[in-house]
Symmetry: C2
Subunit: 254 residues, 2 copies
DNA sequence: AGATATTTGTTCGTATGTATT
DNA sequence: TAATACATACGAACAAATATC
């Protein structure tokens, strides 16, 4: 007697593994499980869902690929819930745009709207450790970039400074979106080489904006922080727009 | 000399399926594959990566869970690249915040910053079909909500109207983020029942903003569209803030 | 330190459903 | 309709990791 591989499911169209991962997710929210909590062992899941080990494993594998669970072998091991790391979520989100990547201008449309808000939200809410991190990420280039390589490195370093701000943002959703935009710009910079020529112009306006920003954040002046960031963002946006126009259009959109 | 306890390969810890899905992704970008293109059959992948069927399947399952590939049965079937559907990406992104969901106020901080930009970007860029869709999603309630159920339904319908705007947004990144914020609000509304009591107050200010918005969009007046949306967003935000304060605090954060 | 038990990780073989030809 | 090719699913076995005794 062979076990029927296809139970009389009403939704025969859906795949077994998808159903199982759905039900596991439901189980998580219903039981209010938290990161670190352990899920039932594979054997038990097999019994509960009347599925083979392979199907259960494929479902778990899908969740694991999402970063929602981690597995450990050995006794006391098993499948454990895990908070999804922001970096992983950003990578996955980037995959959603691989075939149709946004332009630099489109990314900056969001940065202009969001990063000033982020700066305002940070004002007066940072402790000494946070300022230490920010100052560590701060780079004040005394010399203007002489080569395209230097220009490139300076732009990347500036993105890193903004990413520290994003990590510190008390509104984690806002911080996540800003961090994601910065990640996109980093990848595009690597692939498109948008920073062709050294360009001292942006540097003049941006040179000490980091200092001005930190000062406003320390004093707790949200409006000033917002203003500094807004100024810097629109300067960077128009600079990037000009760069994008000069770059060979349609060249390796990603 | 004994072999070091740590294997020389820094990747020795990584699981087989993760390595395989990484390499498949690399293959995609290297060969410049597009949605609809077919990946090598499982057998070929098994040969190329020197892995068993199960491992290859788990890797593909992971990609499939991400929505990056779809499988079709039958001859000529196989694994095909697929553009990730926005709805799927939003769901996955939502999973990244399950254990630490943002508050309504945090979501609105982003909506206030972004949706006016979205409105401005849409001005003068919609065709007749788009306006038909928007008018189809438009609900002008002649009667103020009498019950909590009605209030609830009206808020959801309003979110739907905004989601149509997001889908039409020429800046797809901006549209995606706005759509995601609306999805989060929808889920939270379902779980938290934040709309407890009917409240005609918001309705008075918001009653005909949809008409004013559509008019500005038709004329192509970006500034007017931005203004209408900004006004509506801040009204909705302060309304939600009051609702959130009245709702039992910390009740089922999700 | 070593044996053992427990749990996931990997591989193989096989059967079945389904869509194309 | 029948043959075919592929994905889907099941089951069994062994390997690897990691606790506890």
């Amino acid at each position: 007697m062979t076990a029927p591989p296809d139970p009389p499911s009403p939704l025969a169209k859906r795949r077994r593994r998808d159903l199982i991962s759905e039900r596991i997710k439901e189980m998580v929210v219903e039981q209010g499980l938290r990161p670190g909590d352990r899920l039932p062992a594979e054997r038990e899941l097999m019994a509960r869902f009347a599925a083979s080990r392979g199907s259960v494993r494929e479902a778990l594998s899908a969740l694991s690929a999402q970063g929602l669970v981690r597995t450990r072998t050995g006794p006391g091991g098993g499948v454990f819930l895990s908070a999804i790391e922001p970096a992983r979520a950003m990578a996955a989100l980037g995959d959603a745009f691989v075939f149709d990547p946004p332009s630099v201008a489109e990314i900056y449309a969001l940065r202009i709207a969001l990063e000033p808000e982020m700066a305002a939200a940070l004002a007066g809410r940072l402790d000494a450790a946070a300022f230490a991190r920010l100052e560590g990420a701060m780079r004040l280039y005394d010399a203007p970039p002489e080569t395209a390589e230097e220009e490139f490195a300076q732009r990347l370093a500036e993105l890193d400074f903004h990413s520290v701000l994003a990590e510190l943002c008390p509104n984690r959703l806002l911080g996540f979106v800003c961090g994601f935009l910065q990640t996109m710009l980093r990848e595009m910079a690597l692939c498109r080489r948008i920073y062709d020529a050294p360009n001292p112009e942006l540097r003049d306006t941006a040179l000490h904006y980091q200092i001005r920003l930190l000062r406003a954040l320390k004093v707790g002046d949200a409006e000033a922080a917002r203003g500094v960031m807004a100024e810097h963002m629109s300067a960077a946006a128009s600079y990037m727009a000009r760069m994008e126009a000069e770059t060979a259009p349609g060249f390796l959109r990603r």
